[in-house]
């Protein structure tokens, strides 16, 4: 039976208002709503579709972080992953991409995954490094930024999204890792029966202290909102008044 892995991250809702925390190294985590990194939803969907295509396959979902990330793992299980692995780590938000990638590679090395799926980047850090680093650490090919994916008998045929909307046609043999771009597919919504079924699926915890981590390569010197450069005229208040003012401005410009 083929084994598949999808690596996901839990991130805050990007529509939130972010405040810098007291030591100035990260954002304040209280009062945030948490969800699955959007890119990873495409990764989970593609992995589940491949599992369905193969008929017999086992899909593991891996997530690193504090206890709250279990909710995100459960969503992936409800979307169709078979088993969850939670690498328990309260410090994950402070770690370098290489440290995170090393944790994933150490986990994956002991197993025989035909394919590893990740999002092309996270919405909060946005480094776009972890997926490629995992593949390089494992010595397998990485196809990145995919907007089309097909698998047939050990060969991946895919399209990478490029600036301007054109695509590069790429292929490789498995085992391999792919990073998923937005729009690769239509991520499914977990149905109520599948949410119930997911509660019975295995969700194992793996303490991160068991792993050897590389020394930190990057430290956060400061964190702040971007400097304001804009000079927009702000209209606010009663909707009718704002509409009238805005209509006047637009008519003048036309």
């Amino acid at each position: 039976m083929k084994k598949l892995l999808v690596c996901i991250k839990q991130v805050p809702d990007m529509e939130s208002r972010f405040k810098v925390n007291t030591d100035g190294t990260w954002y304040e985590e209280t009062d945030l709503a948490w969800r699955m990194n959007e890119y990873d939803e495409y990764a989970v969907e593609q992995a589940v579709q491949l599992k369905e295509q193969l008929g017999e396959a086992e899909l593991t979902v891996l997530c690193i972080g504090p206890d709250r990330v279990k909710e995100t793992i459960k969503k992936a299980l409800a979307m169709g992953a078979d088993r969850g692995v939670h690498m328990t780590d309260n410090e994950s938000h402070l770690r370098d991409p290489l440290a995170i990638a090393s944790m994933i590679a150490d986990f994956a090395r002991q197993q025989d995954f035909e394919l590893i799926f990740t999002g092309m980047q996270s919405q909060d850090r946005g480094s776009a490094q972890v997926g490629v680093l995992v593949a390089e650490l494992l010595g397998i090919p990485a196809l990145t930024t995919l907007v089309e994916f097909a698998y047939d008998q050990g060969t991946i045929t895919a399209k990478r999204e490029l600036e301007g909307g054109s695509r590069a046609l790429v292929s490789c043999s498995t085992p391999a890792l792919v990073t998923c771009q937005l729009g690769l597919n239509r991520p499914r919504y977990p149905t109520l029966p599948n949410i119930m079924k997911a509660k019975k699926k295995e969700l194992a915890s793996l303490p991160v202290t068991d792993l050897k981590l590389p020394p930190a390569q990057l430290k956060t010197a400061a964190m702040a909102p971007p400097p304001k450069r804009g000079s927009a005229r702000i209209l606010e208040g009663d909707t009718g008044d704002v509409a009238a003012q805005l209509a006047a401005v637009i008519k003048e410009k036309m």
């Binding site: 990007m14 946005g126 209209l235």
Partner: protein, 304 residues
């Protein structure tokens, strides 16, 4: 300080992004050399050593071989920083280089502050200033963050590289962007819908406002990815670049990929419930309101 700049060459053309690498290197006060997999037919305007690998041998997209070549150049040049564009080429290649060269990678740099690199966090809502602990840094630059003030000048001293090595993936060409239902590049007025419209039904009010203004409607990436609008209506890095007389951004927070596609608009009106949304940085007028109420009210006023 020494930098090694990695220029990008795609579909037979040297991309202009190399000038931003030069501008960044100049900002650091560094001495730069350059690497490109390209051709003698298309050389960068650059006064320095240019390590050139023939694109016919190395192919335009071949990360394993490009990595190998750059590692060889880095061994000769001993740079403190290797700089790439944060593009589909750069973000694919950079982590491979960083791992091979035991370097830290800093992604999507937007600024240099106190001699340290600044990167966006949470779609640009915050910025992080980074203290690099390694001797060598691999840096990728956000497109447009480091414009070169004057046209680049100079003739490079070319050092040809022999291409060896093999790849673990096959690159077999390009597919052009599909032609869609509309050419937004010609529109005089564009009313654009973002994630803030909430549900596909609300696209109708955006279309209504566009019609009242005799313009076209457009969308940001999330709206297109959700299947609510055709890809040909997408404004941004991977969609269309537009420059209308009036651009009305409805419920668009202003991710950099979107701003890159519309910042040349003459006049920008943003309608957003969040006063601090990054779209406010490029807007001339920001209406802080619930678009579901304001858009119909505005449409009515314009039709009156």
């Amino acid at each position: 300080m020494k930098t090694l700049l990695i220029a990008e060459y795609r579909e037979g053309k040297l991309l202009d992004s190399y000038t931003e690498l030069i501008a960044f290197s100049e900002k650091l006060g560094a001495q730069a050399s350059m690497f490109v997999v390209g051709s003698r037919e298309q050389l960068p305007a650059f006064a320095g050593r240019l390590y050139l690998a023939d694109v016919k041998a190395a192919t335009e997209f071949n990360p394993a071989v490009h990595k190998q070549l750059i590692c060889e150049v880095a061994a000769k040049e001993q740079p403190q920083m290797i700089v790439l564009p944060h593009s589909s080429y750069g973000w694919d290649l950079a982590p491979r280089l960083a791992l091979a060269l035991k370097a830290a990678q800093v992604s999507e740099i937007v600024d240099v502050r106190d001699g340290q690199l600044v990167v966006p966090v949470c779609n640009g809502k915050l910025q992080r200033q980074v203290d690099v602990q390694t001797e060598l840094t691999v840096a990728t630059l956000q497109a447009g963050a480091f414009p070169l003030k004057e046209a680049p000048a100079g003739t490079p001293e070319i050092i040809d590289l022999a291409v060896t090595g093999s790849s673990d993936l096959t690159f077999s060409g390009y597919e052009a962007a599909a032609a869609g239902e509309v050419d937004l590049g010609k529109a005089r007025v564009i009313v654009s819908a973002g994630r803030g419209i909430g549900k596909p039904e609300n696209l109708e009010m955006i279309k209504g406002l566009a019609k009242a203004l005799k313009g076209e409607y457009a969308a940001s990436r999330p709206v297109v990815d959700a299947g609510w609008a055709d890809h040909s209506r997408q404004v941004g890095t991977t969609g269309q670049t537009v420059a209308p007389k009036l651009y009305v951004a409805c419920g668009i927070s202003g991710a950099i990929q979107h701003l890159a596609g519309m910042k040349k608009s003459d006049f920008v009106v943003a309608i957003n419930s969040d006063k601090d949304a990054p779209i406010g940085e490029v807007a001339d007028v920001l209406a802080v309101a619930d678009l579901k109420q304001l858009v119909p009210a505005l449409t009515e006023k314009l039709q009156a």
